[in-house]
Amino acid sequence: MAVVVPMSLREAVDALAANPGALVLAGGTDAMVEINDGHRRVGHAGSPEVVVAVDRVAELRSWTLDPGGSRLTIGAGVTYTELMEEPLASFVPALAEASRTVGSPQIRNAGTLGGNLGTCSPAGDGLPVLSALDAEVHLAGATGTRTVSVHDFMVGVKQTVLAPGEIITAVTVPLLDGWQGYSKVGVRNAMVIATASACLAVDQPTRSVRIALGSVAPTIVRAPEAESFAAGHVDWGAGHVDPATAGEFGRLAAAAARPIDDHRSSAAYRRHAIDVMARRLLERAFRGADPT
């Protein structure tokens, strides 16, 4: 049998150790498109002879909150639909918001956070959230496990540090105390790949603002100048931001983008979209204290 369906992480790692060149299949929403198109071959000479379908590995389908309640570890096989459900949606609201923009219910029922990382498209909707949260990515292989920062995990367009025989098991994100959200521009309101996207996350206790940008560079990028500018200029006490600060934040975020012209959009439009989305995200995050 050339399709292996492990039920446990041990079985999955063993199957990959025996077949380091195997195709790891999670939700199939990216890989099957390439297989259907003939762009990715399996079962032919020079292509993977074995597919390891990890969608039933129990450990990958679960999530755990650390005892202190400050960090959440999400299994790589958790679907977008599950990320939109409680309590995960309240733990990481930006991830729930980003998940809602992924495809259709059919796609969200199949696609997984680990698959999003494995594909590592700059347009992956979960990735700006993981970047903004400085997520850690947990990997497992025959020789053991390792944990890498999401920033180091993403190497280039659809390129990661995953070694042959290694799989993504989970990601760990901090539960921040503050507003967070995801914004995305595409050609319509549903079923679109991001032309440009952004995730903004605020942490009140550390008075930090993080913003990560999607579809405007080979990988997700942060905008550190915009982040430090915002942290220094928003009114933390009143929870308010003035229009000039929000405008400058947008400009600084756009300056961090390194977009290209391609069949989906132009670099200039993408930069403009980041400017507008970053400004609006900051304004949503700092609407001002409730007068009541």
């Binding site: 299949l25 199939g28 259907n36 079962g43 002879e49 597919v51 059919q106 199949a110």
Partner: protein, 162 residues
């Protein structure tokens, strides 16, 4: 390389003997098992015409690897009701004029059952968002939305299948 496995479709086991390694569940259903309700159009999860339930989850069967669906319960339109009878959703689609060429209909029937099982009384906006993954090139969607709303009303008022 030919694959040999058993799929559990619409309540019974089906032997698959001549699929290739990378063959999608959609192609296995249609080409190997002769179950023609699920339709293939985009083969990339954009159109929804191949929608089926796998272990109760609505998915695009074109994006499911057939051999990886072994041991799962697969439901297609053929398995929704006895042959020759219609579900309340199917009847509502006919009565509302929500079927024109019919190519997208099996996928929409699956998606509508799934939606109404989760959200018994969806708003029009919810219907539009939930059915966003099912593309129809004939109707303009107005009558599809009418059909979904008719079923919701009939179920609430206990009118049963119209």
């Amino acid at each position: 390389m030919n694959e040999h496995y058993v799929l559990h479709v619409n309540g019974r086991d089906h032997e698959v003997t001549d699929a290739w390694l990378g063959e999608s569940l959609l192609d296995v259903l249609r080409e190997r098992l002769g179950l023609l309700a699920a339709k293939g159009a985009c083969e990339q999860g954009e159109c929804g015409s191949c929608s089926v339930l796998v272990d109760g989850d609505l998915v695009c069967s074109c994006l499911v690897l057939g051999a990886a669906a072994v041991g799962r319960a697969i439901t297609t339109v053929e398995g929704l009701t006895e042959r020759g009878t219609l579900t309340d959703v199917q009847r509502a689609y006919l009565e509302a004029g929500a079927v024109q060429c019919g190519f997208c209909t099996p996928g929409l029937i699956m998606a509508t059952h799934d939606l109404l099982d989760r959200v018994p009384e969806p708003t029009e906006m919810e219907i539009r968002e939930e059915l966003a993954g099912n593309v129809c090139r004939c109707t303009g969607y107005g009558r599809i939305i009418d059909a979904v709303q008719q079923v919701a009303v009939a179920r609430r008022t206990g009118a049963g299948p119209a």
